[in-house]
C-alpha cells in the first residue's frame, strides 16, 4: 500500500493552494512606495555602430527622472561569465565585455541602448520615443560557419575572431578515435541541427532595485532561480557592492527552465539606478522583450560519426559541433556545449573511444545559455539519432543494437571523464517496452493504415548528469563557482521546524517535498516543517535550483543539518531521561531508551532546548539550530528508455503523437506525484522542441519568431496521455537520500524518440528519409516525404 506521508508519499503540493487561487506573491506583485519605472530602448538592428544617442528631448519629457546610456556605465563592471573554458591549445576562451547598456556597438536585436526612468511606465515609454539614435547598421553575423571564415565581420572588434573557443574532449582520445573510425567495419554519419529555442516561462522577468540610504543597503527583487548567485555576480563583478550591503530577493517564481539562472543587465540596471536616483526602480518585461532578451537555448549544428564492428558493437564516436553563444557570454553559456554536453556523449553505452570537438561562436543574436537539460539533450539527441540510423543501415533491430551496447557493470568510467555510479539500463528498457505495448504495434499500424495514416515508432535511451556538482571537479574544469548547497534547520521551542535553504523553487514543489524528508527523519507531521527560500537575507549561501540538483544536493544538505539536529536532540533527551545519548532512539517523534519504558516527546526536547531549566548547560549549548553545506561526491546519473508512437498524415505531413512511454530510473523517489508531474512537463517541452518550437532569425538578424504568432508552444492537444513509470530504481550510491533528480529527464529523452518515430513511419511507407531537422512541422515533414 502506498505511503500516505513522508518519503514515498504523493503528498499534495501545499504551495499550489496559493498558486491556484491567485495568492502567489511574484516579483511583479511587489510595489514599493515611490517607485519609478524603467523602459529600455532596445536595438532594432542586429549589428550596428552607435554614433550618437541623443537624450536631451527625452530628459525633459513629462515624468522623466533620468535617461541613462552606456556612458553612465563606463566605470561600472560588465555582466560576467561564470565558466572559463580552456581550448585545445590550452588557451583561455575569448571573453568579450558585456556592458549593462550598449557601448560603441549594438550586437543583437533587443540589446539595450538607453534606459528611461520615469514616474510611470507609460511616461518612460513615451520619452524613450524621443531619443534620437544615430546608428550605422553593420552586416549581421548570423551563420556560425560563415562567422569563422577569414574576413567575416566581427561581433566584437577587440577579439581576434568570432570564435569563443575550439574545445576538444578529450584531446588525448583524438588519435585513437580517428584510428578506430578509419579501421571500422561500418561508420554511420549524421549531420543535424539542434535548433534554437526560447524558454518562455509563464512569468516574464521582473527586477526592482531599492536603496536604503539610512543603511547604505541595496535590495534587488528579481525573478531568479538562484538569488545568492545573482548577489555574488552583481555585487562582486558589476556594481562593486559588498554582499553584506546587498540583498537579493526572489519570491514566488513562475517557471524558469534555466532562463532565470543567469544574471541579466536589467537586474544590475535597476539596482544601480535605485541608488543613483534614491528611489525604487521597477522593470517588468513584456513578452516581446522576453523573446529578445531572455537567454535562448540549444542552437547547435553537429556532425556525428558512429563506428561499429560487424556485429553492431560501438567502436568509436567522433563529433564536431558548432555552438552558438549569441552576442555575449551569458552566465553559464560556455559550460553548456562543453562539460554539460561532451561528458554525456557516451550515453548508456560502453563505446571505448569518444572524441568531442566544439567550436563556440559569437553571432548577432540573443545570448544562448542553459535551457532545461542544457547540453544533455544535445548529446542525447545526436547519439540516439545516429544509433537509429546505424541500426537501419546495418539491419539490426533498434532495441537489440542498444541492448548489445549497454553499460551493465557499475561503477563505469566513460572515455569522457565521468563515472556512472549505478544504473540498470536493461530494466528501464524492459519497462518501457512493456508500458508502450511494443508488441502491439503492428495491430495499431494496421488500424492507422485503414484511416490513411502512417504509424511509426521510435525508441531511445538517455542518461544525464544531474545533482550539479562536485565543486573541486568543476573548479578544475573552469567553473568560477562552487556548486554545493546549504540548509539551516531551525527548530522552534514548540517543536516546529523552519528550513532555510539555498535551493529555490520556480515551480518544483520544494515546499512540499522537502518537509516530507525531514518529517520522515524525525517522525513528525509534514505540516510542522516550513521551507524558507529565495531571500539572501534569511537563507544561508546556496547555489540555487537548476540541473535537477535541488533534492540531490539541497536535499542532502537538509538531511545533514537534520542529522545534526537529531544528534543534539538525543543528547538533550538523554539528559531528560537520565540515560546515555548512545542508548537513545528516535521513532515517530518519541525519544526512548531501548529495553525501558522511558520516553520523551520531540516537543518536550525542543522546549527544553529553549527553556533550559533542566539541561546539561555545561556540556551543551541551548537552542536547536544547525546548518550544513553539502558538496556532492559525484554527479547523479538518472537514465531511462522512452518510446514514442506517431501517426503521420501523408497528405499534409502533420504528425500526431498517439502514444508516449517513459520509463525512468530516478533512484529513490520522495514524492511520486511530483516526479510524475515533472516528467509530464519535461515531455511536453521535449515534444515541443521535436514538433513545434523553433526560434528563427532572418539573414539580417531580425527575430522572425518574436511572438506566439510565430513561435509555436506546445498546447494540451499537441501532447498525448503519457505512460510514465519510475519503478526501476537504482539508488544513487553517494548521496544520503539515494536520489538522482527528475526535472530535466523528460526534455532530454523525448526529442529523439519523436524524430526516430517519424523517420520510422516514413521508412515503413517507402520513403527513404534518414533525418528531418526539428521542429518536425507539417511543412518540413511533407517536404522530406516529397523531396
Amino acid at each position: 500500500m502506498p505511503k500516505d506521508h513522508g518519503i514515498g508519499a504523493s503528498t499534495k503540493r501545499r504551495e499550489d493552494v496559493r498558486f491556484l487561487t491567485g495568492k502567489g506573491r511574484y516579483t511583479d506583485d511587489i510595489n514599493i512606495r515611490g517607485q519609478a519605472y524603467v523602459h529600455f530602448l532596445r536595438s532594432d538592428v542586429a549589428h550596428g555602430k552607435i554614433n550618437a544617442v541623443g537624450t536631451s528631448e527625452a530628459e525633459t519629457a513629462p515624468g522623466v527622472l533620468r535617461v541613462f546610456t552606456g556612458k553612465d556605465f563606463e566605470g561600472v563592471g560588465g555582466i560576467p561569465c561564470g565558466w572559463q573554458i580552456t581550448d585545445r591549445q590550452g588557451n583561455p576562451m575569448q571573453e568579450p565585455a558585456h556592458p549593462v547598456l550598449a557601448q560603441g556597438k549594438v550586437r543583437h536585436v533587443g540589446d539595450p541602448i538607453a534606459a528611461v526612468v520615469a514616474e510611470t511606465y507609460e511616461q518612460a515609454r513615451d520619452a524613450a520615443e524621443k531619443i534620437n539614435l544615430d546608428i550605422t547598421e553593420l552586416p549581421a553575423v548570423m551563420n556560425m560557419k560563415a562567422a569563422l571564415e577569414d574576413g567575416a565581420p566581427k561581433v566584437h572588434d577587440d577579439l581576434t575572431s568570432n570564435l569563443c573557443y575550439d574545445w576538444g574532449f578529450i584531446e588525448d582520445n583524438r588519435e585513437a578515435v580517428d584510428q578506430a573510425i578509419k579501421s571500422a567495419h561500418h561508420v554511420t554519419t549524421l549531420e543535424l541541427v539542434n535548433q534554437r529555442l526560447v524558454a518562455n516561462p509563464m512569468e516574464p522577468r521582473v527586477a526592482i532595485g531599492d536603496y536604503a540610504s539610512y543603511s547604505d543597503e541595496s535590495t534587488l527583487y528579481t525573478t531568479s532561480q538562484n538569488p545568492h548567485v545573482i548577489r555574488l555576480l552583481m555585487g562582486a563583478f558589476v556594481l562593486g557592492i559588498p554582499e553584506h550591503k546587498l540583498r537579493v530577493v526572489a519570491p514566488d517564481v513562475g517557471g524558469g527552465f534555466g532562463s532565470k539562472i543567469f544574471h541579466y543587465a536589467e537586474e544590475a540596471f535597476c539596482t544601480f539606478a535605485a541608488k543613483q536616483l534614491k528611489c525604487p526602480v521597477k522593470w517588468t518585461s513584456s513578452r516581446s522583450e522576453a523573446f529578445m532578451t531572455d537567454a535562448h537555448g540549444r542552437d547547435h549544428v553537429t556532425r556525428i560519426e558512429l563506428a561499429l564492428d560487424a556485429e553492431g558493437n560501438f567502436q568509436a564516436i567522433r563529433t564536431e559541433t558548432y555552438a552558438n553563444m549569441g552576442a555575449y557570454l551569458s552566465t553559464f553559456s560556455t559550460s553548456v556545449p562543453t562539460y554539460l554536453h561532451g561528458t554525456l556523449m557516451a550515453g548508456n553505452y560502453k563505446t571505448p573511444n569518444i572524441y568531442v570537438n566544439v567550436k563556440a561562436v559569437f553571432s548577432n543574436t540573443v545570448p544562448v545559455d542553459a535551457y532545461r537539460g542544457a547540453g544533455r539533450p544535445e548529446a542525447t539527441f545526436q547519439l540516439e539519432r545516429v544509433i537509429d540510423k546505424a541500426a537501419r543501415e546495418m539491419g539490426i533491430d533498434p532495441v537489440e543494437i542498444r541492448r548489445k551496447n549497454f553499460v551493465t557493470e557499475f561503477p563505469y568510467a566513460t572515455p569522457v571523464a565521468v563515472e556512472y555510479d549505478t544504473g540498470d539500463y536493461n530494466a528501464t528498457m524492459d519497462k518501457a517496452l512493456e508500458i508502450a505495448d511494443w508488441d502491439g504495434f503492428d495491430a495499431r499500424a494496421a488500424e492507422s493504415a485503414k484511416k490513411g495514416l502512417w504509424r511509426g515508432r521510435g525508441i531511445n535511451t538517455y542518461i544525464e548528469a544531474c545533482g550539479i556538482a562536485p565543486s573541486a571537479l568543476v573548479g578544475q574544469l573552469g567553473a568560477r563557482a562552487g556548486l554545493y548547497e546549504s540548509a539551516t534547520v531551525r527548530v522552534n521551542a514548540t517543536g516546529g521546524l523552519v528550513v532555510m535553504t539555498g535551493s529555490h523553487s520556480h515551480g518544483q514543489g520544494h515546499e512540499t517535498a522537502f518537509p516530507q524528508v525531514i518529517a520522515e527523519m524525525i517522525g513528525i507531521d509534514e505540516s510542522m516543517v516550513e521551507i524558507v527560500h529565495g531571500d539572501t537575507a534569511n537563507t544561508p549561501m546556496g547555489m540555487g535550483t537548476y540541473g535537477s540538483r535541488s533534492l540531490a544536493v539541497g536535499g542532502s544538505a537538509m538531511v545533514r543539518a537534520t542529522e545534526k539536529i537529531i544528534a543534539k536532540a538525543k543528547k538533550i533527551a538523554a539528559h531528560l531521561m537520565e540515560a546515555a545519548p548512545e542508548d537513545v532512539e528516535l521513532k515517530d517523534g518519541q525519544f526512548s531508551i531501548a529495553g525501558t519504558d522511558k520516553s520523551v516527546a520531540w516537543g518536550d526536547v525542543c522546549l527544553a532546548a529553549y527553556v533550559p531549566h533542566n539541561y546539561p548547560l555545561e556540556e551543551l549549548e541551548p537552542g536547536l539550530e544547525e546548518t550544513a553545506f553539502y558538496d556532492p561526491a559525484n554527479f547523479t546519473y538518472p537514465a531511462g528508455a522512452y518510446i514514442c508512437e506517431v501517426e503521420v498524415d501523408p497528405d499534409t505531413g502533420k504528425v500526431r503523437i498517439d502514444r508516449f512511454a517513459a520509463a525512468d530510473d530516478f533512484g529513490n523517489v520522495v514524492n511520486p506525484m511530483i516526479v510524475e508531474g515533472q516528467v509530464h512537463g519535461g515531455l511536453a517541452q521535449g515534444i515541443g522542441q521535436a514538433l513545434l518550437e523553433g526560434c528563427a532569425y532572418d539573414d539580417s538578424g531580425q527575430l522572425i519568431s518574436g511572438s506566439y504568432m510565430d513561435y509555436a508552444m506546445p498546447r494540451a492537444d499537441d501532447v498525448p496521455s503519457y505512460s510514465v513509470d519510475h519503478s526501476c530504481q537504482t539508488p544513487c550510491t553517494h548521496n544520503p537520500l539515494g536520489v538522482k533528480g527528475c526535472g530535466e529527464a523528460g526534455a532530454i529523452g523525448s526529442p529523439p524518440a519523436v524524430v526516430n518515430a517519424v523517420v520510422d513511419a516514413l521508412q515503413r511507407n517507402g520513403k527513404d528519409v534518414t533525418h528531418i531537422d526539428m521542429p518536425l512541422s507539417p511543412s518540413r515533414v511533407w517536404a522530406a516525404m516529397n523531396g
Binding site: 507609460e122 515609454r125 513615451d126 516581446s288 497528405d651 499534409t652 505531413g653 502533420k654 514538433l691 513545434l692 523553433g694 528563427a696 522572425i704 519568431s705 506566439y708 504568432m709 510565430d710 513561435y711 509555436a712 508552444m713 521542429p775 512541422s777 507539417p778 511543412s779 511533407w782 517536404a783
Partner: protein
C-alpha cells in the same frame, strides 16, 4: 499603448458621426486592434466601439439568406447559425479560442481582412453582401488584397448577408503557432454551382479557386479535383510553409471540404 478616446454609441448614426472625426477608427471585439495598439503599432485618436449598437447584433435567416449583424461575435454565430447555416456556424466555432470567439466580431474580422482569417473564406465561399452604413458591396468585389477591402474611410459594416448553400464545409489547416489558417478552404455547393474560397495561402489574400469550382460544379466529389493544382508562384512562403506546400494544401483541404460537405 498611446492615449486615446473611447466612445460607445448606441446607434449606427452616432457611430458614423463619431467616425468622421480625426483619427477615429471603429472597434469591434478588438482582437487584432488592441494587441496592435499595445505594441504601439497603431495610434487611433478615437475608438468607436460597435458593441453598444443593438441593431448591429444578431443572426437571422430568411429566403435562403443568413444575415449577421456587424457587431455579432463569432461565438454567437456559432450558436445561432447552427441550424440555418451549419457550415458557416462550424467555421465560426473554430475561430481562435473561446476568449477570441466571445469578443471578436464578424464586422471586425471582415474589415481587417487578415490574409489568414477564416471569415473572408466563409463570405467569399458563400457569396453574399457586405452591408455598410452607406451601401451594399458584393462579396466578390469586397476583398481587395492583404488587409485591404472596398471599405472607405469611416465606413462601417452594419451587417453581412450570406447566401445559404445546399451543402458546405470549411477545412482549416492550422499554422502551428498562431493557429490561424495556414490554408483554409471554404466549399459551398449552391443550386447554381459550387464556390471554393481559399484563405491563408495567397499573397493576394482570400481568393476563389475557379478551376476547382468548375470541376466541382459538374461533379461534386473529391475525385473531381484530384488532378488539379494551384500554381505555387502566387502563394505565401514563411517559416511555417513554403509556397509549394501551401499550394499542395489548397488541393488537400478542398478535397476534404468536399468530402465533409457530402
Amino acid at each position: 499603448m498611446y492615449d486615446f478616446e473611447l466612445v460607445k454609441p448606441s446607434t449606427v448614426e452616432e457611430a458614423v458621426k463619431a467616425l468622421s472625426g480625426d483619427e477615429a477608427q471603429p472597434l469591434g471585439g478588438g482582437q487584432t486592434l488592441i494587441p496592435t495598439m499595445k505594441q504601439r503599432l497603431a495610434m487611433p485618436g478615437t475608438l468607436v466601439s460597435t458593441t453598444g449598437i443593438a441593431s448591429m447584433k444578431g443572426v437571422s435567416a430568411s429566403g435562403g439568406v443568413l444575415t449577421i449583424g456587424g457587431a455579432t461575435t463569432h461565438g454567437t454565430v456559432a450558436k445561432e447559425a447552427a441550424s440555418s447555416y451549419p457550415g458557416l456556424a462550424a467555421m465560426a466555432a473554430n475561430i481562435g479560442d473561446p476568449a477570441v470567439r466571445n469578443r471578436g466580431t464578424i464586422g471586425g474580422s471582415l474589415a481587417n481582412n487578415d490574409p489568414a482569417a477564416c471569415y473572408p473564406a466563409g463570405l467569399l465561399g458563400s457569396g453574399g453582401t457586405v452591408v455598410t452604413n452607406s451601401r451594399e458591396i458584393d462579396a466578390d468585389d469586397y476583398f481587395q488584397g492583404l488587409f485591404t477591402t472596398a471599405l472607405e474611410e469611416g465606413e462601417l459594416i452594419t451587417a453581412v448577408r450570406f447566401n445559404i448553400p445546399e451543402a458546405s464545409n470549411y477545412q482549416k489547416f492550422e499554422q502551428p503557432a498562431s493557429r490561424f489558417a495556414l490554408v483554409g478552404v471554404f466549399v459551398a455547393k449552391h443550386s447554381d454551382g459550387v464556390r471554393v474560397a481559399v484563405t491563408g495561402a495567397s499573397e493576394e489574400g482570400v481568393f476563389r479557386w475557379t478551376e476547382a469550382e468548375e470541376a466541382l460544379s459538374s461533379n461534386f466529389s473529391p475525385d473531381a479535383i484530384s488532378g488539379l493544382s494551384v500554381d505555387a508562384s502566387g502563394m505565401m512562403g514563411d517559416i511555417h510553409g513554403t509556397p509549394e506546400y501551401r499550394a499542395h494544401l489548397v488541393n488537400v483541404m478542398t478535397g476534404r471540404a468536399v468530402k465533409a460537405a457530402g
